[in-house]
């Protein structure tokens, strides 16, 4: 679980310089795993950076090395697709703090042992600093666009605000400029589930062959509910029973929704490190772009000249439309070109990953300029 090998389709960059962090520390010898699609043109101005979500990784359009599932945004990225790899050089990098090849709590510290909870607490902006270091290495001064959904959207808006000369456009899907109390609350449930598992061992579980699988599984189950809509759950599962005619009057997974969530939890522990889950959820909870800029969100964009596009989904109650609107209002206040649309889709927060043709048109139209 903790020592995942990256496939050869990924590349791994080792940063020559230490990476300074918002927490005051800096990380030496940072690894950043990434994959690219398409070709960088001679002017190096056709690069699109795609930022992934909490439990995502850089396997954007190639099969996942552990699950074997297709790339997580294969429906959006490829030749002739909305993020067209015939036109754009598309980059996706595993965020620092994660566990799919970039440096995180499961990586080895300078003393040769896994970092565990000794790993510094990160922020979204720290993740973006890692991406910027990658762009520096690739010789890309300014992106055509940065694109991301959910936590990827937080990185996209952070990059556009904090590194305004590094992108000409930002496309932010189903995201927010700050984590709400409700967002933090759900994450805390997940973290406490992990930490309550005796196998967590204060984060020092790597040498025991087994991590807090039960805790991580419960964390994933709770989080997964927040990614779906009530209507979507009702339509997909309703109160239907799982492979049985009647309720058992016991605590097996009688209902299909229980069985589904248990499966989601169990399969998650095969591909994700529990400590990474703690660190990345913390980074999201700490995210408040306005706070980074004197408390006024509009100030965050004072130096930007980029075009922005924000998309929310009507069934997303994790990052509801109001969160996107607050970013739109801030961008309007400083006179930046911004588009915004709330799309109708039944899939809740996960809509940005799923089949929503209206989203494809917006992505293609916005990037095509």
């Amino acid at each position: 679980m903790a020592t995942v090998q990256t496939l050869d389709t990924s590349k791994v960059l080792e940063l020559a310089q230490p990476l300074p962090l918002d927490g005051g520390q800096s990380l030496e010898g940072v690894h950043i795993a990434y994959e690219t699609h398409g070709t960088l043109n001679a002017a190096k101005d056709n690069a699109v950076f795609v930022a992934h979500a909490l439990t995502g990784d850089h396997h954007l359009a190639t099969p996942h090395p552990i699950t074997g599932k297709p790339g997580w945004w294969l429906r959006m990225v490829g030749p002739g697709k909305p993020i067209d790899t015939d036109k754009f050089f598309v980059i996706c990098a595993n965020v620092i703090g994660s566990c799919m090849g970039s440096t995180g709590p499961a990586s080895l510290a300078p003393d040769g042992k896994p970092w565990g909870m000794r790993f510094p607490v990160l922020t979204i902006r720290d993740m973006v600093r890692g991406h910027i270091a990658l762009l520096d290495t690739l010789g890309i001064e300014c992106l055509h666009a940065v694109v991301g959904g959910s936590m990827g959207g937080m990185q996209a808006v952070s990059l556009a605000a904090n590194f305004p000369d590094r992108t000409r456009a930002a496309l932010i899907l189903a995201s927010t400029a700050r984590h709400s109390a409700q967002n933090i609350a759900f994450h805390e449930v997940g973290r406490q589930a992990i930490m309550a598992d005796p196998e967590w061992r204060d984060g020092d579980y790597y040498s025991h062959g087994k991590g807090p699988e039960k805790g991580l599984s419960v964390a994933r189950m709770a989080a997964h509910i927040t990614y779906l809509s009530e209507a979507g759950l009702t339509e997909k599962f309703g109160r239907r029973l799982q492979d049985r005619a009647e309720k058992t009057f016991g605590f097996d997974a009688d209902f299909q929704i229980e069985s589904y969530l248990r499966y989601q939890g169990l399969s998650f522990v095969d591909r994700f490190d529990a400590n990474s889950y703690l660190y990345i959820t913390r980074a999201m909870d700490y995210f408040d772009l306005a706070e980074e800029h004197g408390g006024l969100l509009a100030n965050a964009f004072a130096g930007s000249k980029a075009r922005f596009c924000l998309v929310s989904f009507d069934t997303d109650w994790l990052y509801p439309t109001a969160e996107s609107r607050s970013i739109v209002h801030a961008l309007n206040a400083v006179g930046l070109p911004v588009s915004f649309v709330e799309l109708s889709a039944p899939f809740g927060h996960d809509s940005f990953l799923l089949d929503v043709p209206a989203l494809d048109r917006v992505v293609e139209g916005f990037l095509g300029q």
Partner: protein, 196 residues
Amino acid sequence: MKSLRPDLAVIAANVAPQAAVLDVGCGDGTLMAALRDEKRCATRGMELDSANVGECVGKGLSVIQGDADSDLAFYPDQSVDYAILSQTLQTTRRPDVVLEELLRIGRKAFVSFPNFAHWRVRLSLLWNGRMPVTRLLPVAWYETPNIHHLTIDDFRALVKERGITVEGAWFLSGDTRCSDAAANFRAEHAVFLLSR
């Protein structure tokens, strides 16, 4: 300015080149695209319908899904040269507030609307005793988006009462211009250019 709706053609013809423009209720972005392509204007738009917004973004336009009644408040004072409201005033909950907002955001404002005092509308109401359904007002009373019908004289009175200056006025009957004389009777459609 070929293929633009007549009121939009009037607006497009009278916007200064390279102006900054906010089109409130921009629909599928036809006017914005014309102003961008033919007058090199810096355009932005607001539109209620998400399918229209998607179409605008696909045309490379910057458009926000929003409601003239509630979302104009977030635009800074005097931030564009022209705020445009075409065929939308009569659909707002508070036309007077929207009008004030247009002139807060824009140094000037274009407003176009169907004239409810056009002779056809008058005759229809007089003879039939029913809410008129005409070419410009094609929808029955119970499903029309037009919740605040107005006439050219109503608009002039409101503008005067609020101390707003009329810089220009254009009146249309079908696709052709008609004179100012008896416009309240003869024009199906009016376009006003306003300032403070």
